[in-house]
C-alpha cells in the first residue's frame, strides 16, 4: 500500500508544468463559459419551468449533460493518453520497471491518477455551476433562477456520475497504457465518444455502453441511476484488474 502512496506522490511531481494538469480546471471551465455566454445573454428565454427549484435543476442538468455527453469522454481519453504518454514518450518504462517496486504499482498509480483528475474536474464543475447560475441570475433574470441552488442534489449526482464513469476510465486507462501510440488511445476514445453520442440517447442501450453510462445519471430523471452506479463500479473494478494484470505481464521497450 505504501508503495502505491509513494507512486502517487511521484505522479504528482511528474504532472508539474504539464498540459494534463492544466486540463483539470480548463475542461470544466470551457463548459461553464459556454453556458454563461449562452444563457447569460440569451434574449429569448426558453419556456422553462416556473418553480425555482425546477429551474435550478433544469439549469444544472443542462450543464452536466453537456459535460458528461461531450467533454468527459474527451477529457478521459486525453488525460489517460497524456498520463501514459509521460512514460511512453520518454523511455521511462525501462527505468521504472527495473526499480525494485512491484510492476503493477506503476500502472495502479496511473489509473488512480486518472480517477482523481476526473473526480476533481467533475466536482469543480459541480461547485462552479451554482456560481455561474448566480451570475446568470444577475445578467438575465428571465431565466427564472432564484433562491438557493439544490446543492445536495447536485453534488450527490456529480459524485454518482464519477462512479458511473468507472468502466470508461478503466477502459481508456488500459488502452493508453497497453498501446504506446497516442493515436490508438485517441482513436478508441473518439470512436467510443461518437458511438456513445448515438447510443447514449437510446433508452434501451444507453446505460449499457461505457461512454454513455455517466450521462444516464442526469438523463430521463435518472431512471438508470442505480444501474449505471453499480455497473460503473463493478465493470470499472473488473477492467482495472484486467488492465493491471495485462500491463504487468508485458515487456515494455
Amino acid at each position: 500500500m505504501s508503495a502505491l502512496v509513494r507512486a502517487l506522490r511521484a505522479e504528482r511531481i511528474k504532472l508539474r508544468h504539464t498540459l494534463a494538469a492544466w486540463m483539470v480546471p480548463l475542461a470544466p471551465g470551457v463548459i461553464l463559459l459556454l453556458s454563461l455566454v449562452q444563457l447569460g445573454f440569451a434574449h429569448v428565454p426558453p419556456p422553462g419551468p416556473t418553480d425555482p427549484m425546477e429551474a435550478w435543476k433544469h439549469f444544472c442538468q443542462g450543464m452536466f449533460t453537456l459535460w458528461l455527453f461531450l467533454m468527459l469522454p474527451l477529457f478521459i481519453t486525453l488525460q489517460a493518453a497524456l498520463l501514459a504518454g509521460l512514460e511512453h514518450g520518454h523511455h521511462q518504462w525501462k527505468h521504472l520497471l527495473a526499480l525494485p517496486v512491484p510492476r503493477r504499482t506503476h500502472f495502479m498509480a496511473k489509473l488512480c491518477m486518472l480517477m482523481a483528475m476526473v473526480a476533481a474536474s467533475t466536482l469543480l464543475l459541480a461547485v462552479a455551476t451554482p456560481l455561474v447560475g448566480w451570475v446568470i441570475m444577475q445578467l438575465n433574470p428571465a431565466q427564472g433562477l432564484t433562491g438557493s441552488p439544490p446543492w445536495a442534489w447536485l453534488v450527490s449526482r456529480a459524485l454518482a456520475s464519477i462512479v458511473a464513469a468507472g468502466a470508461l476510465m478503466a477502459l481508456q486507462g488500459w488502452v493508453a497504457l497497453r498501446w504506446q501510440s497516442f493515436t490508438v488511445a485517441v482513436s478508441v476514445g473518439t470512436a467510443g465518444m461518437v458511438s456513445g453520442f448515438l447510443i447514449g440517447q437510446s433508452d434501451r442501450l444507453g446505460h449499457w455502453f461505457p461512454w454513455s453510462m455517466p450521462v444516464q445519471v442526469f438523463l430521463r430523471d435518472g431512471v438508470h441511476l442505480w444501474f449505471v452506479l453499480v455497473a460503473g463500479l463493478v465493470a470499472g473494478v473488473a477492467i482495472a484488474g484486467f488492465a493491471l494484470w495485462d500491463c504487468s505481464r508485458r515487456e515494455y521497450d
Binding site: 508539474r16 521511462q92 527495473a98
Partner: protein, 302 residues
C-alpha cells in the same frame, strides 16, 4: 564472489538469435566491458539482467541471489541505465531524481549526494529540456545511483558524448568503482572505449559469448598485429615471406603481420638490410572488428 552470474541464459525473438546459452561471470568489484557489434545482443542481455525481458531458458544470479522475470528482489542492489537516460524533460534535474527517490523510499540526502557525484549540483534546478546531451547522460547515471547500488549496469553510456564527455564519464566510473567498490557492467561496441577502464571483458557476437576474461588474457591470446608502412608493399611482403613470416597485404603501402614469429626489432633490421624504405613500423592495436574476425575464425576452426 560473482556480482553477475548467468547460466544457459537464452532469449530469442521470433526465431532470431537475441542471446543464446549465455554464461556470464562478472566478479564483484570489477569493471566489466561487454563488447559486441550492433545487433550482437548486448541490450537484450542487459534487459534480461534487469528483468525487463522474460528469460526463455537459463538462470541469472546477482550476488548469488536468483533473479528472473518473476523474482525481482535482487534489483534493489542494481542501478541501471539502458540505452538513453530515462528523463522527464519538463522537470528539473532535482525533480527527476525526486520521482525515483519517492519510488525507492530513499532518503532526501541521496539526491544531493547523487547530484554531487555526477557534478550537477549547480544545474539541479534547471529543467532537463535545457540540459546538454552530456548533462543528461550524467543525470541518467545519477538516477542509477539513487539506489546506492552495489552493481551498476550501463548500456552504451558514452552514446552521443564528445571526446571530453567520454573522458569525464570514464573518470566518474573509475571513481565509483575505486572509491565505492561498485561493480560496473557496461556495454559498448568499441574496444577502445572500454580498454582504459575495464578490468574484464566479454565479447558477444550474434548472441553468443566468444570470449570472457581479464583484458590481459584477451590481449595475450590475441596479440596486436605488426603493421608496416613502406614504399613498396609487395616487395616487403616477398621479403617477409622469405623470412618465414605470414604477411598480409593490406593496401599498396601497408603490410600487416598478425602473428610474427621473430621479435619486432629483428624483422625491422632484416627489412632495412634488404634496402626497403620503411616509413612506419609498429604494433597496431586491434580494432574490435579484427578481434571479432579472429575470435569468430577460431570458433569456426575448433
Amino acid at each position: 564472489m560473482l556480482a553477475i552470474q548467468t547460466r544457459g541464459l537464452t532469449r530469442r525473438f521470433d526465431g532470431r538469435h537475441g542471446v543464446t546459452d549465455l554464461a556470464l561471470e562478472v566478479p564483484a568489484g570489477s569493471v566489466y566491458g561487454f563488447l559486441g557489434p550492433n545487433g550482437a545482443g548486448k541490450t537484450t542481455t542487459i534487459r534480461l539482467l534487469l528483468a525487463l525481458l522474460r528469460e526463455e531458458a537459463g538462470e541469472i544470479r546477482l550476488f548469488g541471489e536468483p533473479l528472473s522475470w518473476t523474482r525481482r528482489a535482487p534489483l534493489s542492489e542494481v542501478g541501471s541505465m539502458v540505452e538513453t537516460p530515462s528523463l522527464y524533460p519538463h522537470l528539473s534535474g532535482r525533480d527527476n531524481l525526486e520521482v525515483t527517490r519517492l519510488l525507492l523510499d530513499g532518503e532526501t540526502a541521496s539526491i544531493d549526494e547523487a547530484l554531487a557525484l555526477v557534478g550537477l549540483t549547480a544545474d539541479a534546478e534547471r529543467r532537463v529540456r535545457e540540459y546538454s546531451l552530456g548533462m543528461r547522460q550524467r543525470l541518467g547515471i545519477a538516477l542509477a545511483l539513487m539506489r546506492r547500488p552495489r552493481l551498476l549496469v550501463l548500456d552504451e553510456p558514452t552514446n552521443g558524448l564528445d571526446p571530453a564527455g567520454i573522458v569525464e564519464l570514464r573518470a566518474l566510473l573509475l571513481r565509483l568503482a575505486g572509491e565505492r567498490g561498485i561493480t560496473i557492467f557496461l556495454s559498448s561496441h568499441l574496444l577502445s572505449e572500454v580498454e582504459q577502464i575495464a578490468s574484464h571483458v566479454g565479447v558477444l557476437h550474434q548472441g553468443q559469448l566468444l570470449f570472457q576474461g581479464t583484458q590481459e588474457s584477451l590481449r595475450r591470446r590475441h596479440g596486436d598485429p605488426l603493421a608496416i608502412r613502406c614504399g613498396d608493399a609487395r616487395a616487403v611482403c616477398d621479403s617477409l615471406a622469405h623470412l618465414g613470416e605470414q604477411p598480409q597485404l593490406l593496401d599498396e603501402g601497408t603490410v600487416s603481420v598478425p602473428a610474427p614469429r621473430r621479435a619486432d626489432h629483428e624483422i625491422n633490421r632484416c627489412l632495412i638490410e634488404r634496402g626497403h624504405a620503411i616509413h612506419a613500423f609498429g604494433r597496431r592495436p586491434h580494432s574490435l572488428e579484427t578481434l571479432f574476425f579472429e575470435l569468430t575464425g577460431q570458433e569456426a576452426r575448433t
